[in-house]
């Protein structure tokens, strides 16, 4: 399906490097939508949405979900599999640094903006389940491996809960909660004592 093995990682990074793509993916992760709905939500022309959507569909980052009929017109609905959107370390291998430096910096900025907005809106206090934790960790090599395993397991568990939740929502018609889950972990700068 994917003829060039480098293409998928590049398309994944392109999501982070482009506001429209990041907007499309975010929106589709929160629920299936049509091209027209995406264009309205992101306030960009339909043609632009279609262009980016098609490029992401080429590498299966975005998938067809179903059809909907609106005002007598049949529209395609699209969805995203979050597991396919995760960038694995081995996919980054061999990619020149500048390829991921900028997109990741953009993603970080986006995440900071979202966390700051939630702090501002007092959302971290509105439900007891909300989590906001920053932890300095002294690790040896084994600790690095073990902590990485914890993050991987957490991602998997959260996405499993998400799937079950989506199924229940479809059946119950309950008002859904839009949320963000974030995991950041990195080596502290050498002189970073705080």
């Amino acid at each position: 399906m994917v003829e060039n093995p480098k293409r998928l990682p590049r398309e994944k990074l392109a999501i982070l490097g482009n506001d429209i793509r990041l907007g499309i993916i975010t929106s589709l992760l929160l629920g299936p939508a049509s091209v027209a709905e995406l264009a309205a939500e992101l306030e960009v022309p339909v043609a632009k949405v279609r262009y980016h959507l098609n490029r992401m569909r080429d590498v299966n980052l975005v998938e067809l979900y179903g059809e909907t009929s609106r005002r007598g017109v049949t529209e395609n609905l699209f969805t995203v599999d979050p597991r396919k959107n995760l960038m694995e370390p081995d996919e980054m291998e061999g990619l020149p640094r500048h390829r991921f430096d900028r997109p990741y910096t953009r993603l970080l900025k986006q995440m900071f903006r979202e966390v700051a907005e939630a702090v501002e809106a007092r959302n971290f206090r509105s439900r007891p389940e909300h989590t906001g934790v920053r932890l300095p960790l002294p690790l040896d090599e084994r600790g690095w491996r073990e902590s990485a395993a914890i993050y991987r397991q957490l991602i998997d568990e959260v996405l499993t809960v998400r799937e079950a939740s989506l199924n229940r929502l479809e059946a119950s018609g309950e008002t859904p909660i839009k949320a963000l889950g974030m995991i950041l972990s990195f080596e502290r700068a050498a002189d970073g004592s705080g």
Partner: protein, 188 residues
């Protein structure tokens, strides 16, 4: 798990950039007042004064004693569990105090990220994680995701404790990480 008043003392103690820097340093391994003063480039009296306050709040404890240039010196360590709050612990705490704490924490975290990006350690390693998951959840799912984050945090604190013990035994220096978990409802 902290009682409400204890959580409040911790929140207040951590709402100051200098104390937060002290706690960060001590969360990464034991140090003496003199070492802290040298690390953070401040007079040792200032360190001693704030250490007292942090000890009173139960965040910092005495780790041990050792000889240094003929004098006996105490070393201190920070309790990682004190840096982690459960939602219910914070219920009923004054809004202003919580906001001060949140703002300070975000500020130091932002600085750490920027610093790691500047020195190139941010994206270098396979074990590094930068994950953003937009989630559509029902009430049950929201609870469950919160529980998963909490359980992962407990496991992480366990790994941290074991690492500290191994590092001390081996006399090794850690390769320190900053880890952060966020899970929240997107503001409407």
């Amino acid at each position: 798990m902290k009682a409400g008043s204890e959580a409040r003392a911790v929140i207040l103690a951590l709402s100051d950039p200098f104390r937060l820097a002290l706690v960060t340093r001590l969360a990464l391994g034991p140090a003496s007042a003199a070492e802290l003063a040298a690390d953070l480039d401040v007079p040792v009296e200032q360190v001693r004064y704030q250490l007292k306050r942090l000890r009173a709040a139960g965040i910092v404890t005495i780790h041990g004693e050792r000889e240094h240039r003929g004098a006996v010196e105490r070393t201190f360590v920070a309790d990682g569990r004190k840096l982690v709050f459960r939602g219910e612990e914070l219920a009923g705490l004054p809004e202003r105090e919580l906001r001060g704490h949140d703002t300070e924490l975000l500020r130091i975290f932002f600085r750490e990220v920027v610093e790691a990006a500047r020195t190139g350690s941010l994206f270098d390693e396979d074990e590094h994680f930068l994950v953003r998951m937009p989630l559509l959840l029902d009430a049950q799912g929201f609870r469950e995701v919160g529980e998963r984050f909490e359980a992962a945090l407990d496991r992480l604190l366990e790994v941290r404790t074991q690492c500290l013990a191994r590092l001390e035994e081996a006399g090794e220096k850690p390769r320190s990480a900053t880890s952060a978990f966020f899970f929240f409802e997107i503001p409407k």
